[in-house]
């Protein structure tokens, strides 16, 4: 499976890929050799999604500033 950098994915694409990773991991023949790669990719995807959903202090300050 070709992997795009997580930053280039839409939120929906990231969530879909997470779903595919879960299915692969939950299948009976999940290869332990691929486990590290799966987990690393999933961690990146989750972090990116969470980053998009939430704002840092600086971003929040910037948003408030724009509103005034």
């Amino acid at each position: 499976m070709e992997q795009k950098p997580v930053k280039d994915l839409s939120y929906n694409e990231a969530i879909s890929e997470l779903g595919r990773i879960i299915s692969a991991m939950q299948s009976d023949n999940c290869d332990i050799d691929k486990l590290a790669a799966y987990t690393r990719r999933a961690t990146e995807l989750i972090a990116e999604c969470r980053r998009r959903l939430t704002a840092t202090d600086e971003e929040l300050a910037q948003i408030l500033n724009n509103l005034q």
């Binding site: 839409s10 939120y11 929906n12 969530i15 997470l18 779903g19 990773i21 879960i22 991991m25 939950q26 999940c30 332990i32 486990l35 799966y38 987990t39 999933a42 989750i46 999604c49 969470r50 998009r52 959903l53 939430t54 704002a55 971003e59 929040l60 948003i63 408030l64 724009n66 509103l67």
Partner: protein, 430 residues
């Protein structure tokens, strides 16, 4: 020259006639309002009557004096969400008045909000039907929401309390969800409101960046909702291609816009809460995914470790175990075999025993029978032997060693030998 009276006097005469007639005092009249204006806290308007085709067939000047205006306006607003304004229909109690300077006017002393409400509902139903016929009624309502809703175009009056409440609620959410709101200012009440809101919508549509539109207004029970009954505004919202949320700060009211907007909430704060809840759900979904993945990964690793340590623990005892199992198998085989032996051999052996007994009996019987037969044969033999015959007095005559059985065999002069039981006689034939 004709005799004349002054205009003032004529007006006074009219006034006296009008006021003295009970037909013109405290009469309930239905009328549509136009040119409503408030000056010096008094409310002036034109009262109209139109026929079924909308053609004006009667007109009169109306006024609500300041001492009644506030109360009547509040009465209408709290019942219908509409203020006394142009375009609405009223059932009013009027008394005709004639002022020497300003002429005739209808002084309004009371109104019946139920009539206005009924008219409002009828008009709303008509507008909804019209939107349905235009094929747009459900367009905005059926729009799918994007996965994450962050870029929020707000239509509100700048500085309005509702706008402040909304931003405050939105940007101080506990999960620190990211929202990027921007205000598109508009007039939110009065006759210019619909056009102003439509302008704001157009400005939002020019920028293909927004996830949703929130139309908000600080509320209160006495706010005027008439602009939210506007057909053109409803049409624009229905056709808008991103979801529209309406939060106009009115607990009770449903307006025409509520029938076309994707989402209706009671207050600006509720609009913010709704958006925050969506974001929180997305965050919770991420947490669930993370939990699932890490639990599964741990499970796989733990499973592999357990398998390894099982093999590891097996190594030292495996050879003994194998020997033990082999020996166990052997004893099982032996037991099985002995089981078979006892099941098969014992009956066979007892059969043999029976056969041996039978054999012995058979042999004895056979020997005895043979002996008996022998004895009989001996007796018979004894009885039939030549000696026995001789003993009974018979004799055998021989010539030249051959037994004589016929007289033809002998002639005189022959020597014959006669054997008796206990000796032999030799004779010569004569």
């Amino acid at each position: 020259m004709h005799e004349s009276i002054s205009l003032a006097k004529l007006n006074r005469i009219i006034a006296e006639r009008i006021i003295s007639s009970p037909l013109t005092q405290n009469v309930w009249v239905t009328a549509e309002l136009s040119d409503v204006a408030v000056r010096n806290r008094h409310c002036y308007m034109e009262l109209l009557e139109k026929d079924a085709n909308g053609v004006q067939i009667a007109k009169a000047r109306g006024v609500i004096w300041a001492n009644r205006y506030t109360e009547l306006n509040r009465k209408l607003l709290s019942a219908t969400g509409q203020s006394i304004s142009s375009g609405i229909k009223l059932l009013v109690q009027v008394s005709v008045n004639m002022h020497p300077v300003y002429g005739m006017s209808m002084v309004i002393s009371d109104l019946d909000p139920d009539y206005t409400m009924g008219d409002l509902l009828r008009r709303r139903r008509e507008n909804i039907e019209k939107l349905k016929l235009a094929g747009v009624l459900d367009l905005n309502r059926n729009l799918e929401w994007p996965d994450i809703v962050q870029r929020i175009a707000i239509i509100s009056a700048p500085g309005a309390a509702g706008y402040g409440d909304f931003c405050n609620q939105l940007l101080n959410n506990p999960s620190r969800l990211r929202f990027e709101p921007r205000l598109f200012p508009a007039v939110m009440q009065g006759e210019s409101a619909p056009a102003s809101i439509i302008n704001a919508l157009e400005a939002i549509a020019n920028d293909d960046w927004w996830d949703c539109v929130v139309i908000i207004r600080g509320g209160g029970a006495t706010s005027d909702l008439q602009c939210f009954e506007d057909y053109d505004l409803a049409y624009n919202i229905a056709c808008f291609d991103i979801p529209v949320i309406i939060g106009i700060g009115h607990e009770r009211d449903i307006t025409l816009l509520d029938s076309v907007a994707n989402m209706r909430v009671k207050t600006p704060t509720a609009a913010a809460e709704w958006l925050i809840e969506r974001g929180d759900r997305a965050l919770a979904a991420l947490d669930t995914i993370a939990q699932t993945i890490f639990t599964r990964a741990n499970g796989i690793v733990t499973g592999c470790k357990e398998q390894l340590s099982y093999y590891q623990g097996l190594l030292p005892i495996a050879p003994f175990d194998a020997t033990r199992r082999a020996s166990l198998r052997l004893s099982k085989a032996v037991m099985l075999l002995s089981g078979i032996s006892s099941r098969r051999l014992i009956p066979a052996m007892s059969q043999l025993d029976v056969m041996a007994t039978n054999l012995a009996t058979a042999a004895t019987t056979a020997v005895k029978r043979a002996n008996d037969r022998l004895d009989n044969a001996t007796s018979l033999l004894d009885a039939l032997s030549p000696q026995a015959v001789l003993n009974r007095g018979y004799s055998i005559t021989r010539i030249d060693g051959h037994a004589v059985t016929s007289t033809d065999q002998i002639k005189p002069g022959d020597t014959i030998e006669t054997t008796l039981a206990n000796g032999t006689i030799t004779s010569i034939i004569k």
